[in-house]
């Protein structure tokens, strides 16, 4: 269901805070971040808020609201906190599989990556395909590109499968008119492309909740960062503990909280049930393809 303007405003307000916190902490939840992003989110959100206050049926609410959401880093975290996704259940991005196509084009003023541009986000917004969760290979001209910096100082590329940020990197790496590009999403292997390594799916729960393990994946590890000394169990049934028996959480610590496990979703999505949270906890779920 599409977000309402009121929901978009709430998400924007939270994302401004979260990105500011992320910037101040020095840690990134995924990929690079424009240091001006928190202010940008705040500025766009304020414009949307004013327009909504004065004219809640104005037609410009749609494009401005959609733009706001497109720049909202940590949108899903905000939605979880605002309980916009049914109280803590987060369905991760399911890789597109057979419906995902290569992008093969010649750079121009109107191509997918336009002349002079150095990045694009493939997250399903702005008319771009959604490649999040996939590996992406990239060919430029007659050369296959790598994600590691060229020791000879040449161009390479960056790909963050969590955010969908695709970047042209290296000196003079911006797209040049007439260049031939081929961006190849890969569901079977190839270059991982992520600059941040093995990235978990992160959910937030403040009460009993669920996580949907997508078909074709297994859970390797679950790490929990609680804000209260809750006793938590994890299972594949409501209130179940077949994944993790009751464990007393240590507040503010990842290391002793969680479990290494092999929970498979071989032929269908599988719901994982978390029981025992009484205060907000950050849960990192590390997935592997089966």
């Amino acid at each position: 269901m599409p977000l309402t303007t009121s929901q978009q405003i709430s998400i924007g307000a939270l994302c401004s805070v979260y990105t500011s916190n992320e910037l101040a902490s020095g840690k990134r939840t995924g990929g690079v971040m424009d240091t001006g992003l928190p202010v940008q989110i705040y500025a766009v959100n304020q414009g949307l808020k004013w327009l909504y206050e004065y004219d809640p049926t104005n037609s410009d609410l749609v494009p401005i609201g959609n733009y706001l959401i497109s720049i909202c880093r940590q949108q899903f975290r905000a939605e979880s906190v605002l309980a916009l996704n049914n109280g803590g259940t987060v369905a991760p991005i399911v890789p597109g599989g057979s419906s995902v196509n290569d992008l093969d084009f010649i750079v121009s003023a109107t191509s997918i990556i336009e002349t002079g541009e150095s990045s694009i986000t493939f997250d399903g917004t702005n008319g771009n395909p959604d490649f999040r969760g996939l590996n992406v290979n990239f060919a430029r001209g007659a050369s296959v590109m790598y994600t590691t910096p060229d020791p000879d100082g040449g161009v390479y590329y960056g790909w963050n499968k969590v955010t969908g940020l695709f970047q042209l990197l290296g000196p003079s790496s911006a797209a040049g008119v007439g260049e031939r590009f081929r961006i190849m999403p890969d569901t079977t292997g190839g270059s991982s492309g992520s600059s941040t390594g093995f990235e978990p799916t992160t959910i937030l729960l403040s009460a009993d909740g669920t996580y949907t393990l997508p078909e074709g994946y297994l859970i390797w590890k679950i790490s929990i960062l609680p804000t209260a000394a809750d006793t938590v169990k994890i299972g594949t049934t409501v209130g179940g503990d077949d994944i993790m028996f009751d464990k007393l959480m240590t507040t503010g610590v990842y290391g002793t909280n969680g479990v290494t496990t092999d929970v498979y979703a071989e032929s269908a999505d599988k719901i994982i049930y978390f029981t025992g949270f009484t205060a907000q906890a950050t849960i990192n779920i590390y997935l592997l393809p089966i």
Binding site: G36, V39, Q40, A43, V44, Q46, G47, L48, W50, L51, Y54, D55, N58, D60, P63, I64, N66, Y67, L68
Partner: protein, 172 residues
């Protein structure tokens, strides 16, 4: 029986010069025959509709709302509404300090809309920095009134905002 006097002053998008007054008083008083609206800016000047000969505007008591084109620019003003009997004696008075920012807010929304259809604008340092300056000026005007009751500071902030809005070729 007496009234608990109250009113609101608001604006509608697209009409930044207008203020819509709404009488939100509770109770009733049969002695009330009319109202007056007195608007004073940060320099102590009375603000009236063009052609009005008095320092105030008459608000017929039969009308629950009245719309007046009082604002040539964004302004922070004291608004006093008086409820009078048929002899012109003031029975009730209520004064508020408020700020009207719709000229500049309308332009700010235009900038955000432009940015939403051309994301590269945020990479234009001149555009983006001045957009933020405009936002800050608008918020400063609001905060000056609602946190400090400071009409002078509020108007100064609105003047800064106006300087940006009036010179788009230089700032945007």
């Amino acid at each position: 029986m007496a009234i608990v006097e109250n009113f609101t002053a608001s604006q509608n998008l697209g009409f930044p010069s207008q203020i819509i007054f709404t009488d939100t008083s509770t109770g009733s008083d049969a002695a009330i025959a009319s109202r007056r609206i007195t608007t004073v800016d940060s320099d102590g000047n009375y603000i009236v509709v063009d052609g009005t000969q008095t320092n105030y505007e008459v608000w017929p008591y039969a009308d629950a709302t009245i719309t007046l084109a009082l604002l040539p620019i964004d302004m922070s003003v004291y608004i006093t509404v008086q409820w009078l009997n048929s002899g012109g004696t003031v029975l009730y008075t209520k004064t508020i300090l408020t700020v009207f920012r719709l000229y500049s807010i309308t332009y700010y929304i235009y900038l955000i809309k432009s940015q939403s259809s051309n994301e590269k604008l945020k990479n234009n340092a001149n555009f983006y920095q001045n957009e933020i300056r405009l936002l800050c000026s608008l918020q400063e005007a609001y905060d000056s009134v609602y946190y400090a009751g400071d009409i002078k500071s509020a108007q100064a902030a609105l003047t800064r905002a106006k300087s940006l809005v009036d010179n788009p070729a230089n700032f945007f």
